[in-house]
């Protein structure tokens, strides 16, 4: 059983290498292999979720080095949930891309699989430096995906994206270095044990390191004021890449929850809840910023990007509570916003393609093919993202409102959440009416002007020319959102268990470190040196 824990990392890595080495010039087989690997990944993730749901956290020791010395992967309910979500999203995105997007640039599928490897690794790892390595794997692949298809604007946005992430990586290393210099360990479970015992003289260094790490995770999660990269990047990239990036902001959220709920959690002595005072205010401002930005969007992808900023704000309001109801609501909303956001980005891609030269600009244009279907899907995605009944966005927001109630500043938070919902409704309503209703008028105008020789935009092509796979991917994502709504009762019950486990420091530490306590005593006084030596040895294969 425990061997399977590494599978979500190995499987995409091997697939990517296979695609690159064996199928480099054959797009058809590449698609098949990539889809098959993603289906297999989903199966493995579901299997792992089943195992994790049955018992406590399961460690996997790389190279069988004992836990504080070697690198561990840890499977618990939280990481298993994220794995399943990643695999589901990946399957929809790869189906969407296989309809033609992957032809626009080279090596879409290998990059995609490498990114899955990085994301899955980041969700599984139980070691802070290993988290950095998987972050980098994920980012390197995302650079390739972000630039997929090329274009001047995408290059410019890509430069900013890479530069910002390089700075974030630098901060990550400084934070990790500071934490290591004081604690002598980077294993999360071991850190959770060591952090409360750090002498008072060293606590300032540890706190600096912890807050630098928080800055990095907040950058990934697009918390104000570190969110500037997100709208430009998401609006600048291709639809499948943007949809896949939906899970990357969630990696930042997951890291915040993991590190600040576990290592610097309530039981971390003088450094308990070191990041908590920052999360909630920043999240509220993020939500307000996203909603206001949404009003000013000039393209559908801009609109989607700002909706994502707003949803990250909502999500982190819940996560920032760091208690069981908050995290339960947060996880429910996390899954929902990933699915709905991805659906909206994929939909924006389809719409941009069908409107020809008008792309996804929010301006009247000739009617597009299958407008009623796309309009209906847009309506559903908008309902879900804004958080209006009957979809899961509404339930998620209600759960978050309930979780927030009772905290000192709850009237302010309620006000912001409810007012931004209204603002976002306005933004989406405006965009939808321009895209789908004003288009009819545009088409009539076009017909009048057509005889005059004016040829505005690409003429709408018949539906038969349009591949059906992308639409199916969008419908699947929205159907999952509907399912998430229908099964909300049992799901929140399960997620409450996940939240309890995610905050249970004792069980996590026991699962990761317990078999090794004997080993540590044998090591005696040379434990520090032995630990360092064995860690560097296990670090080898990661490079």
């Amino acid at each position: 059983m425990s061997q399977w824990i590494i599978a979500p990392v190995i499987l995409p890595a091997m697939t990517a290498a296979f695609l690159l080495l064996a199928l480099r010039h054959h797009l058809g087989p590449q698609r098949l292999a990539s889809i098959a690997a993603t289906v297999a990944l989903l199966a493995v993730s579901l299997f792992l979720y089943d195992k994790a749901a049955a018992g406590g956290p399961f460690p996997y020791r790389l190279g069988d080095w004992p836990a504080p010395f070697g690198i561990v992967l840890v499977l618990d309910k939280l990481s298993a949930t994220m794995l399943v979500l990643t695999a589901v999203l990946a399957l929809c995105v790869v189906l969407y891309a296989s309809a033609g997007w992957d032809r626009r640039g080279r090596h879409f599928h290998p990059l995609f699989q490498f990114q899955l490897m990085g994301i899955n690794g980041a969700f599984l790892t139980g070691d802070v430096f290993n988290l950095f390595v998987f972050f980098e794997v994920m980012l390197i692949a995302s650079y390739g995906l972000m630039l997929h298809g090329g274009g001047a604007q995408r290059l410019k946005a890509g430069f900013q994206y890479v530069a910002i992430n390089l700075v974030a990586s630098t901060l990550f290393l400084i934070g990790v270095g500071l934490i290591y210099s004081v604690t002598g360990t980077l294993n999360m479970a071991h850190l959770a044990v060591v952090v409360p015992q750090v002498p008072a003289a060293d606590q300032a260094i540890l706190k600096t390191g912890a807050l630098l790490l928080f800055l990095v995770f907040a950058t990934k999660a697009a918390l104000v004021p570190l969110h500037w990269w997100l709208p430009a990047t998401y609006a600048g990239t291709s639809a499948p890449a943007a949809a896949m990036f939906m899970i990357m902001t969630k990696v930042g959220t997951y890291a915040i929850l993991r590190v600040y709920g576990l290592v610097f959690g309530a039981e971390a002595g003088a450094l308990a809840e070191v990041a908590v005072p920052f999360v909630l205010p920043a999240a509220v401002v993020t939500l307000a910023f996203g909603a206001v930005g949404l009003l000013g969007a000039r393209t559908l992808r801009d609109l989607a990007a700002f909706a994502i900023v707003a949803s990250m704000g909502t999500l982190l309001i819940a996560i920032g509570l760091f208690d069981v109801p908050g995290i339960t609501a947060g996880l429910y909303y996390l899954v929902h916003s990933t699915l709905a956001g991805a659906a909206l980005f994929l939909l924006a891609g389809i719409i941009a393609l069908r409107r020809g030269a008008m792309a996804d600009r929010l301006a009247p244009a000739p009617a597009m093919a299958q407008e009623d279907l796309l309009g209906g899907l847009f309506f559903l995605a908008a309902l879900a993202l804004v958080g209006l009944p009957p979809l899961s966005g509404f339930l998620g927001k209600v759960l978050i409102l309930q979780a927030v109630e009772g905290t000192p500043s709850w009237p302010a938070i309620w006000t912001v959440i409810l007012v931004t919902s209204l603002v976002m409704t306005l933004g989406f309503a405006r965009a939808g009416s321009v895209l789908f209703w004003a288009s009819r008028d545009g088409a009539e105008g076009e017909a009048d002007a057509g005889s005059a020789g004016g040829k505005a935009g690409g003429a709408p092509s018949p539906a038969a020319e349009h591949p059906v796979l992308p639409v199916i991917a969008v419908i699947a994502l929205l159907a999952l959102t509907v399912g998430w709504t229908v099964a909300a009762g049992p799901i929140t019950h399960t997620l409450a268990g996940t939240a309890v486990e995610a905050l249970d420091r004792t069980a996590y530490v026991r699962a990761v470190l317990a078999p090794e306590t004997r080993f540590a005593h044998d090591g005696g006084t040379t434990a520090r040196e032995g630990e360092a030596a064995s860690r560097s040895a296990t670090a080898e294969p990661e490079r």
Partner: protein, 128 residues
């Protein structure tokens, strides 16, 4: 030695941050490189500064230097090297495609008005 290493790290970081805040891609890249050098030196010193000590267990060693930060630095060097190569290519492509090496998203990124493409406009801005 502490003062030398500390001031060296500080100087590298300061130079890196100053260059990173410039508006053109090349200084930004040089700044990022300086920053990654600073981090590498910084990580080394996190294992405490020790001279002529072995990193592996040996019976007649008077003490040890911590080998873990060295492993971390090696990983960091590999990653930052790859990233720098990528961002150089990216900046170069951006310059060749747009004719400008500004790091910000300039006017060409603003969505065009509805009729612009339709009027059979000339070549995109920034190109001869």
């Amino acid at each position: 030695m502490e003062i030398l290493v500390a001031s060296g790290t500080g100087l590298l970081t300061a130079v890196g941050i100053y260059l990173m805040l410039r508006g053109r891609t090349f200084p930004v890249i040089v700044g990022l490189s300086f920053l990654s050098y600073a981090v590498n030196v910084f990580l080394f010193s996190m294992g405490r500064l020790a001279i002529d000590r072995p990193p592996i267990i040996s019976p007649d060693a008077p003490g040890y230097t911590d080998p873990l930060p060295q492993a971390l630095v090696l990983t960091a060097i590999v990653i930052s090297f790859g990233m720098t190569a990528l961002i150089v290519v990216l900046a170069l492509r951006g310059f060749l495609e747009t004719g400008s090496d500004k790091a910000d998203l300039d006017a060409s990124s603003v969505p065009d008005g509805p009729g612009r493409r339709a009027e059979g406009e000339a070549a995109p801005r920034g190109r001869p």
